[in-house]
């Protein structure tokens, strides 16, 4: 008997995306540019995070029409975002047949206490996290893939670096800890003990861990890969830059050849202007998307 929507199958698609770049797109044309540049998947949106940030107000799931047109335009997997806790938006996306759902802090949260019970769905979910405890809570809820939150729509990689370093440092700490100290740490982190134990034994998260939030250049992508990311999400960084096709291709190459400065130097040349960046200190704390999620 064939079994659909199993944990192996959900986690497995994320394994297939490793070493690749997932790009935010808002139109079928952008989706085709992304695919042509070598994206391993696209995220279908109405607006990229930089525009969501600029527009303010409540940001919701994209119009299904936008998502369906993008699904028709490309053969690579298509992801789409729902608001934190908005399980009906997720039901709609599953019905549309999207390949992955991002329960995302980029949109305005629909629930201030609870995330979606992601085990209930056949479609896999990716969630953002800033540290190990947050990542393991999301995995316990059924997320089959994790990404750093970073600070979306800023073109500033500093927060993604902070989150990836934090996660990696905590994994190393857990690995070197005597077993009897794990329970107290689980309590302190708010992480399920069984998952923490798994991290201690394997020395990595139980699911794939991508970098996201503020990545704008090939060097940013390679930096995140060298810090231990399994792959890269680029939100506003491509289609808010002067030459999206060239930049997209360069970021794909930099993600594959992240340990090869010769390739990185070559692909970083002549890309035109990157997206305008935002200094994190200029964003009021209540405007920071990374603070969303519990």
């Amino acid at each position: 008997m064939a079994e659909k929507g199993t944990w192996t199958v959900k986690k497995g698609l994320a394994e297939m995306l490793k070493g690749g770049v997932i790009m935010d797109v808002t139109t079928p044309e952008q989706a085709r540019i992304a695919e042509e540049a070598g994206a391993c998947a696209v995220m279908a949106l109405e607006r990229v995070p930089a525009d969501i940030r600029a527009a303010g107000g409540v940001a919701r799931m994209a119009d299904p029409e936008v998502i369906l047109r993008i699904m028709d335009a490309v053969t690579i997997p298509v992801m789409a975002k729902v608001r934190i806790g908005h399980f009906v938006e997720a039901q709609i996306l599953e019905e549309l047949g999207v390949d992955y759902i991002d329960e995302s802090e980029v949109l305005t949260p629909a629930d201030e206490h609870h995330h979606i019970d992601k085990h209930k769905f056949k479609v896999p979910f990716v969630c953002g996290a800033r540290n190990l405890g947050e990542a393991l809570r999301r995995i316990a809820e059924g997320a089959a893939m994790i990404r750093t939150k970073g600070e979306p729509g800023t073109g500033n990689v500093v927060e993604a670096v902070r989150h990836m370093r934090m996660m990696m440092a905590e994994i190393r700490r857990v690995q070197n800890m005597p077993r009897e100290e794990l329970m107290a740490l689980a309590k302190e982190m708010g992480a399920p003990y069984e998952l923490l134990l798994q991290v201690a034994e394997q020395g990595r998260l139980p699911v794939v861990n991508f970098a996201a939030g503020g990545i704008a250049t090939p060097a940013d992508a390679a930096l995140m890969m060298q810090l231990g990311a399994d792959g890269i999400f680029v939100g506003s960084g491509i289609f808010k830059s002067k030459n999206p096709a060239a930049r997209a291709r360069a970021i794909v190459a930099a993600t594959t050849h992240y340990n090869d400065p010769k390739v990185l130097a070559e692909v970083s040349r002549n890309l035109g202007e990157a997206m305008p960046g935002l200094e994190i200190a200029t964003i009021a704390p209540e405007q920071r998307m990374q603070e969303r999620g519990w």
Binding site: E3, T8, G12, E15, G19, G38, I76, D260
Partner: protein, 193 residues
């Protein structure tokens, strides 16, 4: 023995872990010079369009094709199967074209249709193989030199042509090493009893 694992994108780590569990050394291949001295090549699952693009940009197609034609065994899983095929239904994407087969991409549907199943693979013995299909392709038709090793329903999902093996699913996502051992025998590893 040294096996190259194409590491442009996708599940190359899982293949390397499986080879390590069999005591076989492996090397990640991202550039032509990393092909030197390998006894066989594995092309993992991932996005075949992404890999095709990077194979082209980093000049890997010709050296791999040349080495394969001179006798190097190649094992492709999922995206790797697509890259091994001579024909891809409705697509002109770049490929190695080493096997005389036609494949259809995403042929079982989108991710919500992805599945796992116990698959009968007579060449591996009576015990069925747990096969994980993720947005998987299948083989639509095969040429005379191609040996069909497994079907799911009426669809061909595993085939061999001489020293090339192509499979639509992901043996690297399970603990069953039999398919990897079959490939390693092609590469010259003695059969373990």
């Amino acid at each position: 023995m040294l096996i190259g694992v194409l590491a442009l994108q996708g599940a190359f780590r899982e293949h390397q872990e499986m080879l390590a569990s069999l005591g076989v050394e492996s090397r990640q291949v991202r550039k032509p010079e990393q092909l030197e001295g390998i006894d066989g090549l594995i092309i993992p699952g991932g996005e075949s369009t992404t890999m095709g693009k990077l194979l082209q940009d980093y000049h890997l197609f010709e050296p791999i094709r040349q080495m394969a034609l001179q006798g190097m065994p190649v094992f492709g899983t999922c995206a790797g199967l697509i890259l091994l095929a001579r024909e891809i239904t409705g697509s002109s994407q770049p490929r190695l074209g080493l096997m005389d087969i036609t494949v259809a991409r995403n042929a079982f549907g989108r991710q919500v249709e992805s599945f796992e199943v116990d698959l009968s693979v007579p060449v591996l013995g009576e015990e069925p193989l747990r096969a994980v299909f993720i947005r998987a392709p299948y083989i639509v038709s095969t040429g005379p030199e191609v040996e069909v090793l497994a079907r799911y329903g009426d669809k061909i999902v595993l085939a061999r042509q001489g020293r090339f093996i192509g499979c639509a699913f992901h043996p690297e996502l399970t603990d069953d090493t039999r398919l990897h051992r079959l490939f390693l025998e092609q590469c010259g590893l003695k059969k373990a009893d």
